[in-house]
């Protein structure tokens, strides 16, 4: 018990300890979050009219980011599986960072959902027994359950392992392995349920496809490692924690295959909707070619497609993939490309044309962007603080010291 308290105190103390660069980074994130608080207050007082959403396009930037970041959270499993199932020692050293990223991503996703709500103070209505959760009918209810579960699972596992490392021990419990395996399946489920949230609606022909679940998973497994590689690179360069090259190689290989599959899925969707084009293809026509003279998303989606194609080309060329500069470029391109394609490029065209055939566009307002930046900042802040603790523990700087016992005879 005493060790637990000491661990928490030490961890928090560690979060407050750092170089000028570290504090500069923290201050930047806090500042970004603060400006978002002002925007959100404005949104709370005036209503969601401050966003660009309408009855026609009732989900926008917030839910786009939500869908994307659930994918990032799910991608942590790509570190967990090699670490524990394939017993890769090199990946074991970064698995805690991966779980930290998952926790941060889940927090970001949940924050995006809460800011999207019209009456966020009523969020307690979704708690079973206290409120009234429409389980198992509502997919959103499922999403709440699986995301909360995933958050607690990752938090628990990470905390448990970290605490043991802090005490210079290794996890041995059988139960722990069970939870890890549960966590792996749970990771797939969070993103599949998020995909089902969209694909369960037969009213939206662009989403109502069995391919949406696989598309979500494959794009998550491409964008997740992209972010992890960039982050590990930053950690490698900015801290004393050195990452093995083999970790990056494994992640890069996973990313390549996932991106290839993801692009294949995009191609399949385009063929299915454009070969014998009927009304089913109206949304995808709006996205890529425009509809009724309107096509705000065209430059975005084409840019995303080109970025992804460049990225996959880089990744498929072995020497380039092994070069950190090329790899980082590919990671940035992949991350941005998938963020566009899976975020706004999926959520917004689902509403265009509306179910009554109206073409009405959407673009995020400055308030939405401001709040989104704040939420991203929170995610980065959470990850920074967790990573700080993880690195300190893994490097052995943070260790539990048994209390010195003093005897009657003095020291």
């Amino acid at each position: 018990m005493r060790a637990l308290f000491q661990f928490l105190i030490d961890a928090i103390r560690e979060m407050f300890r750092g170089s000028r660069r570290y504090w500069g980074w923290i201050f930047l994130l806090v500042a970004l979050f603060t400006q978002a608080v002002f925007s959100y207050t404005h949104q709370m007082q005036t209503g969601l009219v401050v966003t660009g959403m309408s009855d026609q396009v009732s989900w926008g930037f917030y839910i786009s980011n939500f869908a994307f970041f659930v994918g990032i959270a799910a991608a942590a499993v790509l570190l967990v599986v090699p670490a524990y199932i394939f017993d890769r020692k090199d990946i074991k050293q970064v698995v805690l960072l991966g779980e930290g990223m998952a926790i941060a991503a889940v927090i970001v996703a949940l924050m995006f959902v809460v800011t999207d709500l019209g009456r966020p103070e009523r969020i307690w209505h979704v708690i079973p027994y206290l409120g009234r959760m429409n389980f198992p009918d509502s997919i959103l209810a499922w999403d709440v359950v699986v995301l909360t579960g995933y958050f607690l699972l990752n938090l628990g596992i990470m905390f448990y392992v970290l605490f043991l490392h802090y005490r210079d021990r290794e996890p041995k419990s059988r139960l722990y392995s069970v939870f890890v395996v549960i966590g792996m399946f749970w990771a797939i489920s969070i993103h599949t349920v998020t995909a089902f949230m969209f694909s369960s609606n037969p009213s939206r022909s662009m989403w109502h496809t069995s391919l949406l679940g696989p598309r979500f998973i494959s794009s998550a497994f491409a964008s997740g490692p992209a972010l992890i590689i960039i982050t590990l690179g930053v950690i490698h360069n900015a801290t004393r924690y050195k990452i093995d090259r083999t970790v990056i190689d494994t992640l890069a290989l996973t990313m390549t295959i996932a991106l290839q599959i993801s692009l294949f899925f995009v191609g399949v969707e385009m063929f299915t909707d454009f070969y014998n084009e009927g009304q089913h293809g109206a949304s995808i026509r709006y996205l890529f070619l425009g509809l009724e003279g309107l096509g705000q998303l065209r430059p975005w989606i084409w840019a995303a497609l080109i970025m992804n194609l460049i990225a996959v080309t880089i990744l498929m060329i072995h020497p380039l993939r092994r070069n950190m500069k090329w790899l980082n470029t590919a990671c940035v391109l992949t991350f941005l490309g998938i963020w566009i394609e899976k975020g706004m490029g999926l959520v917004v065209p689902g509403f265009i044309p509306t179910t009554l055939g109206e073409v009405f566009e959407y673009s995020p307002t400055s308030t939405e962007l401001s709040i989104a930046v704040g939420i991203w900042a929170v995610g980065m802040l959470v990850f920074t603080l967790l990573a700080k603790t993880v690195i300190a523990v893994e490097l052995g700087e943070l260790k539990y010291k048994e209390p010195v016992r003093y005897t009657q005879r003095g020291f």
């Binding site: 300890r17 709500l117 009456r119 009213s203």
Partner: protein, 319 residues
């Protein structure tokens, strides 16, 4: 030995660390600025959103409609009446008329008779206390191309000199009150459900505003209060129902509820009464002698998007 090591480590840190004290000071400064700004922006708004603290808390902690006792429902109704009086100055009645047993409402629209006047749209706005500034409308009349039922070729914003226009026909769309409603299934908190008389209702005090129902609805029937609905005193319709046309708040979804405050008392919905051409036929599907049954059994009726399996209770026919 360990003590000296510790001392050394600390001295190393002191050179590069920004002390904790500075950080706390900084956070405190930001925090106080935020708090001051937040206080300044909220000071102008009425306390508790224009309600008494008791009413605000009572409304916040209100339970789900299906779990409330009759006393709690009575309390909720009087609270709504008090809040509306405070806000609009009108003494409204908020009722909770139960469904009439043996009744399942159905609606049929004669698209040969509908000429696109939009009388129904504005009658509904008046009857159901729809926000005037936010311009919420439950009914949307589509101007369709003659010879096609393709909704993508429809015009929502027709505004000619006279209607009907050559080569067009008109089709009003509102909540279809499906027997198998996808919105009810989608709602994570069960803020919307199907009542025994077939009306799909929303409890505006329970809705969290996630808009999952709006994605699920195939008929664009559900509308969101993006802003606080404005209801000037002179247009308030005082006879309201808890699940119907009682004054709503921003951040919740609403839709056509077959004028539940009228139909549960035997009256026609406002849109049916307003149509000058008698294009709207409303009644009890379980009554074999009703007009709606006559239409469904003798006319060539169809429903929109039937292939989605929603079982809408609004039919269209021509004759």
């Amino acid at each position: 030995m360990s003590n000296t090591k510790k001392k050394k480590a600390r001295s190393v840190n002191r050179e590069t660390d920004i002390s904790r004290r500075t950080f706390v000071k900084g956070v405190g400064a930001i925090g106080s600025v935020t708090a001051a700004a937040a206080a300044a922006t909220t000071a102008s708004a009425a306390s508790w959103g224009g309600k008494t603290m008791q009413d605000a808390f009572g409304e916040f902690f209100q339970d789900h409609y299906k779990k409330m006792t009759p006393e709690e429902i009575e309390e909720a109704l009087t609270r709504i009446e008090r809040n509306a009086e405070r806000k609009t100055g009108v003494n409204i009645q908020c009722e909770n008329t139960p469904p009439i047993p043996g009744v399942l409402f159905g609606y049929a629209i004669n698209i040969s008779k509908c000429k696109g006047y939009r009388d129904c749209v504005y009658a509904c706005v008046e009857e159901n206390n729809l926000g005037r500034d936010s311009q919420m409308q439950y009914i949307r009349v589509l101007e369709m191309e003659q010879g096609t039922r393709n909704l993508e070729k429809s015009e929502h914003y027709y505004d000619p000199e006279t209607v009907p226009q050559e080569g067009k026909y008109y089709m009003p769309v509102q909540c279809m009150q499906c027997e198998n409603p996808p919105c009810v299934k989608a709602c994570p908190v069960e803020a919307t459900w199907k009542e025994p008389d077939g009306i799909v209702v929303i409890d505006y005090n329970w809705c969290i505003g996630c808009r999952m129902c709006m994605s699920a609805c195939p008929y664009w029937a559900r509308h969101f209060n993006w802003t606080e609905p404005e209801l000037p005193t002179e247009v308030v319709h005082p006879v309201t129902h808890y699940l119907g046309n009682r004054p709503r708040m921003r951040g919740v979804t609403e839709k056509c509820h077959f004028c539940i405050q009228r139909t549960r008392k035997g009256r026609l919905p406002a849109c049916a009464e307003a149509c000058p051409n008698g294009a709207r036929i409303f009644g009890n599907l379980l009554d074999p002698n009703s007009e709606i049954r006559y239409v469904l059994e003798n006319k060539d009726v169809f429903r929109l998007k039937e292939e989605l399996g929603t079982e809408p209770k609004m039919w269209y026919f021509s004759d």
